[in-house]
C-alpha cells in the first residue's frame, strides 16, 4: 500500500493518505482529543451517472433516473437482515447519502470503532437485491420524493438546473421520479453496483478518535484480491447558453423564492480547487453579508437575511447561484447584473478582497472543530483530486489579480437564468 503523511503545522493537523492495491483511496485524519470517530465509505457514483459501460463492453447502459439513490437505500439490506440492526448492536449511528456525483455510507461512534468499521466495509461490499425488496423500497422512496416535491427551495433549485441545462443529467432530481423508480429492478441494481462499487472507484475517509494502522489493516483484509475496473461514463452534449432564461412555478409559499444562476463553460469538465476557491472569494465579495449588493438590497426591502451566493460545480457543470426570498425577484436579478457590471468596470476593491479572504480563511479554520466536517472535507479532497489542507493554502495564495481574472470568465449576463417559486394565487 502506498502511504504518506501530510501535515499542516499552522493548523496543527496531520492526515494519512494511502492508496490500496485495489485502487481504493484512503484518507485518515486522526483527532484523538475527540471522543467521536466518523467514517465514510463512498463511491464516485451519483445521480448524474445515468449512462456508462465498463471498458471492453460494446454498448453503453442507460439506467432509470434516481437509481444511484435507490441503490443506496437497498444496500443496507442483506439476506441475514439489515445493516442498521448490525450497527444498533455496536452503538454506531449509521446513515448514507447520494448527491449528483457520489454516494457515501457513513457511521459515527464514540465506542467500538473497529467493529463499526468492519460492518461498514462489509455491508457496502455485499449487495442483496430481490424483486420483493425492491418493490418495498418503492413505497418509502416514493414518499421521500413527494416530501421534496413540497419543498419550495428544492423545487426552485431543480427548476433552475432544468432551465439552464438541456442535456446534462445534473438537471435530473437525485431521487428520480415516482415513475422512473418504478422501472428499477434487481438486475439493473446489480449492473450499477458491479460497475461503480469497485474499490478503484471508491474511497474511505475517516476522522476522529481512531488508530490509522487498524483502518489500513481492516481495508487490507476486506479487499484482498479485488481487481479494479475502468469505467467509461457517457458524455452529454451541452450548449454554452441556457435553455430558458426564466422559469416560474406556484406553490404554497408566503413570498416568492428565487434562484438566479450563471452558467459557466466547462472545458475541461472539472474545475480546479484554485478556480473554486477564487470563485468563493469573488462571491463573498459580491454578495456576502458585508457586500454593497446585499446591503443595498436589504435596505431597499428586496431581500432578507436568507440571501446568499454559492458555487455549484461538478463534472461537466458549473453555476454561480444567488438565492433568497423577495417580493420582487426580477428587481434582485437586475441589481445583481448591475453590480457585476460595476465591478467589471471599476475593478475589485482591494480592501474588500482582503476582508473576504480573511473571513473565509478564518471560517475554514473553524471547520476543524467538527469531526463530521473534517471527514466530509476529506471526501471533497478525494472527489476534487487535491490533497488535504490544500484549501487553506489556496486561500492564502489567492491574489487580487487571480480574482479579477476569474471574474472575466464568469457571471455572463447572456448565460443567466432565473427560477421563481410564486405563492399560489387565492
Amino acid at each position: 500500500m502506498i502511504k504518506q503523511i501530510i501535515t499542516d503545522d499552522r493548523l496543527g493537523e496531520s492526515c494519512i493518505s494511502a492508496l490500496h492495491p485495489s485502487g481504493l483511496k484512503i484518507l485518515i485524519c486522526p483527532k484523538t482529543e475527540f471522543a467521536t470517530a466518523y467514517a465514510l465509505f463512498g463511491t464516485k457514483y451519483g445521480s448524474i451517472d445515468t449512462r456508462f459501460r465498463i471498458k471492453g463492453e460494446e454498448e453503453y447502459t442507460d439506467v432509470p433516473e434516481g437509481i444511484a439513490h435507490f441503490l443506496e437505500h437497498k444496500l443496507f439490506e442483506s439476506e441475514e437482515g439489515d445493516a442498521f440492526t448490525r450497527f444498533s448492536a455496536t452503538g454506531g449511528y449509521a446513515n448514507a447519502y447520494t448527491s449528483f456525483d457520489r454516494t457515501c455510507y457513513l457511521f459515527s461512534c464514540t465506542e467500538r470503532f473497529e467493529e463499526n468499521l468492519d460492518i461498514l466495509l462489509d455491508f457496502v461490499r455485499h449487495p442483496y437485491f430481490t424483486e420483493a425488496t425492491v418493490q418495498k423500497e418503492q413505497g418509502i422512496i416514493g414518499q421521500e420524493i413527494k416530501m421534496y416535491d413540497d419543498d419550495p427551495a428544492w423545487c426552485c433549485f431543480f427548476n433552475l438546473l432544468c432551465s439552464m441545462y438541456s442535456n446534462h443529467p445534473v438537471r435530473i432530481d437525485i431521487a428520480g421520479t415516482v415513475e422512473s423508480i418504478a422501472q428499477i429492478n434487481a438486475d439493473l441494481l446489480y449492473k450499477c453496483y458491479n460497475t461503480f462499487y469497485n474499490p478503484s472507484n471508491m474511497f474511505l475517509c475517516v476522522a476522529g478518535n481512531v488508530d490509522p494502522d487498524y483502518i489500513l489493516d481492516a481495508v487490507d483484509k476486506a479487499l484482498a484480491g479485488v481487481e479494479g475496473v475502468e469505467i467509461e461514463r457517457g458524455t452529454f452534449e451541452e450548449q454554452k447558453g441556457v435553455l430558458r432564461a426564466k422559469v416560474e412555478k406556484e406553490m404554497p409559499v408566503a413570498m416568492p423564492l428565487f434562484n438566479i444562476g450563471f452558467k459557466e463553460a466547462c472545458t475541461p469538465p472539472v474545475k480546479t480547487l484554485k478556480e473554486k476557491i477564487e470563485t468563493d472569494i469573488l462571491l463573498e465579495m459580491l454578495a456576502g453579508k458585508s457586500s454593497k449588493l446585499y446591503n443595498t438590497l436589504l435596505q431597499q426591502g428586496l431581500v432578507n437575511d436568507r440571501f446568499e451566493a454559492s458555487y455549484f460545480t461538478g463534472h461537466g457543470y458549473a453555476v454561480e447561484i444567488f438565492e433568497g426570498e423577495s417580493s420582487e425577484p426580477y428587481k434582485v436579478a437586475d441589481a445583481i447584473l448591475g453590480e457585476i457590471e460595476r465591478i467589471r468596470k471599476e475593478g475589485i476593491n482591494e480592501e474588500d478582497f482582503i476582508r473576504a479572504k480573511n473571513a473565509l480563511y478564518g471560517r475554514n479554520i473553524m471547520l476543524y472543530n467538527s469531526i463530521e466536517r473534517v471527514a466530509s472535507s476529506l471526501v471533497s479532497a478525494v472527489m476534487g483530486d487535491y490533497a488535504p489542507f490544500d484549501v487553506q493554502k489556496t486561500f492564502e495564495a489567492a491574489t487580487l489579480k487571480d480574482i479579477t481574472d476569474r471574474l472575466a470568465l464568469q457571471l455572463k449576463p447572456e448565460r443567466m437564468s432565473i427560477s421563481v417559486i410564486n405563492p399560489v394565487k387565492a
Binding site: K31, A35, A94, M147, K289, N304, R355, A359, G362
Partner: protein, 421 residues
C-alpha cells in the same frame, strides 16, 4: 483531559460557566438570558435579537457590523430565542478562531463586540433607530410568514400551538405577524432594557484557557442596571391531558400529507425523566425504533416517522409525511406501536440498542462547543445539574420493565393533519 465545567456565581442573578475545550480551533462566548415565556416577552425580544445581531452603536449598519466580523477573521455573532419549558431563553453568542491560529489576535476584540451588541445597541431617544427597526420588523414578519415553506416544521408548530392553546408553551417564540406589526421601536427597546434589568444571566466561555477578564467585563457592564427584581426559572408545569382528543386539520396544495400527534407522558425535570427519554427513543428514535422498523420499513408507509420528547413539559410528539390515502392507516399503525410499548411486546435487544445509542451520543456531547453549551444552558436550573457522563450512567441502569412502566403514562392529546386540496 477529563470533561468538566467550572460554575461560578458572579453576583445576583448572574452565573459564569467555563468549559475547557482544548480540542477546538475556536473559542465561544455566549450569554443566555432567562425570562418568563409570555406574549409580552417573546415577540419583542425576538425582534430585539434581530436588531442587536445586525448592528450596535459603534457599527450601526448591518454592512459595518458584518465588515467588523470579517476583519476578526470570520468571527460569527448570532442570537436566538427558544422555549425552555415555560421559560424564554434568549441567547447572544460569538465564536471566533483561537488567537494561536491567527496572524493577529482577536479574542479581546470579539468579547468587546459581543458586549457592545448587548449593552450598546444603536438607539436614540425614541428607542431602536427607526431605519434598523423597520428593516428587522419586516424580516421578522417574513420569517413568521415563511414558516409555511417547510411543511414538516409547519405541521409540528401547528400541533404545539393547538396542544398548548392558552398556555405559555403554545406561544410562537417569535410571536405572530400581527404582534410584530403592532410593535413600536420604543416597546422593543424597553423590552430589551427590561431583560437587562430582570433576566437571570448565564455567561459561558468554551475556550482552551479561562478568560476571567471576560466574566469581569460582563458583570461590570451589567452593574449599570438596577437589578432588584430578577426572574428565576422554576420547574415548568407539566402538560395534562383531559377530555377528548383534539383533532385539527388544514388543507393546502401539497403533494404529501403530514400527520403530527401529541401525547402527554411521564417526564419533567424529576430524577426519573431519563427513563422516559429511553422509552421515547425506543418508540421513535433510531433505526432500531418501533416506528422506524415497523411503520417505515415493514409497512412502507412513509420516509420518516419519528418521536421526540419535550422533557420540561412531559410530552412526546410523533410526526410523519404520508400519502393522503394512508393517513388513517399510519395513525392506527402509530397507536399500535404505542400499544406494543405499553404491553412490553417488543424485542429486548431494542432496549440495549437504544441505550448504546443514547450513551454513545452523550459521550460525544463535549465534541461540540455549541452542544456542550446548550446542554448546560438547558439544565442550568434543574434540581441536580447532570453532566452528560452522569446521565449516561443513569441510562445504563434502565431496564425493559422501566421502559414499559414509563410507557403507561402515554396518553393521546392532540392530532394535527395537513391535507391536500
Amino acid at each position: 483531559m477529563k470533561n468538566q465545567i467550572l460554575k461560578t456565581n458572579l453576583g445576583k442573578g448572574v452565573d459564569g460557566c467555563y468549559i475547557p475545550s482544548h480540542r477546538f480551533k475556536t473559542a465561544r462566548i455566549s450569554v443566555t438570558a432567562y425570562m418568563p415565556l409570555e406574549k409580552a416577552t417573546a415577540c419583542p425580544l425576538s425582534l430585539a435579537c434581530l436588531l442587536i445581531s445586525n448592528g450596535c452603536k459603534k457599527h450601526p449598519t448591518p454592512m459595518e457590523f458584518s465588515q467588523r466580523l470579517d476583519t476578526l477573521y470570520g468571527a460569527s455573532l448570532g442570537t436566538d430565542t427558544y422555549k425552555m419549558g415555560d421559560t424564554l431563553a434568549v441567547r447572544v453568542g460569538i465564536i471566533f478562531a483561537e488567537d494561536r491560529f491567527l496572524p493577529t489576535p482577536v479574542a479581546e476584540d470579539c468579547a468587546n463586540l459581543l458586549f457592545d451588541t448587548i449593552f450598546e445597541p444603536d438607539v436614540d431617544e425614541g428607542g431602536f433607530c427607526e431605519g434598523n427597526f423597520i428593516r428587522e420588523q419586516r424580516i421578522q414578519i417574513e420569517e413568521i410568514e415563511g414558516e409555511i415553506n417547510d411543511k414538516r416544521t409547519f405541521a409540528r408548530n401547528r400541533l404545539v400551538e393547538k396542544m398548548f392553546e392558552g398556555e405559555p408553551y403554545g406561544l410562537a417564540v417569535t410571536g405572530t405577524k400581527e404582534e410584530t406589526e403592532a410593535l413600536t421601536r420604543k416597546e422593543v427597546y424597553d423590552a430589551w432594557q427590561n431583560l437587562l434589568k430582570s433576566a437571570y444571566f448565564r455567561i459561558s466561555i468554551t475556550a482552551e484557557n479561562p478568560h476571567d477578564e471576560v466574566f469581569e467585563a460582563f458583570t461590570k457592564r451589567l452593574s449599570d442596571y438596577n437589578r432588584d427584581s430578577i426572574y428565576t426559572p422554576t420547574a415548568s408545569i407539566l402538560h395534562t391531558t383531559e377530555g377528548e382528543v383534539k383533532q385539527i386539520s388544514d388543507s393546502m396544495a401539497v403533494a404529501q400529507g403530514k400527520l403530527a400527534m401529541g401525547f402527554s407522558c411521564a417526564g419533567g425535570e424529576d430524577a426519573e425523566s431519563y427513563k422516559s427519554m429511553v422509552m421515547i427513543d425506543i418508540l421513535g428514535g433510531g433505526p432500531y425504533s418501533l416506528l422506524f422498523s415497523n411503520v417505515r420499513e415493514k409497512l412502507s408507509l412513509c420516509y420518516y416517522c419519528a418521536a421526540r420528547g419535550v422533557r420540561k413539559k412531559g410530552v412526546l410528539m410523533i410526526d410523519s409525511g404520508v400519502e393522503f390515502d394512508n393517513m388513517e392507516k399510519t395513525y392506527n399503525a402509530v397507536l399500535e406501536q404505542i400499544d406494543l410499548l405499553k404491553s412490553g411486546n417488543f424485542d429486548d435487544g431494542i432496549v440495549e440498542a437504544s441505550k448504546l445509542y443514547i450513551i454513545g451520543s452523550l459521550k460525544g456531547v463535549y465534541d461540540s462547543q455549541a452542544v456542550t453549551d446548550h446542554w448546560y444552558a438547558d439544565r442550568w436550573f434543574d434540581d441536580k445539574l447532570l453532566s452528560p457522563e452522569q446521565l449516561a450512567s443513569l441510562v445504563e441502569t434502565v431496564t425493559k420493565a422501566d421502559v414499559v412502566a414509563a410507557a403507561q403514562s402515554i396518553k393521546l392529546d392532540t392530532v394535527y393533519r395537513l391535507l391536500g386540496k
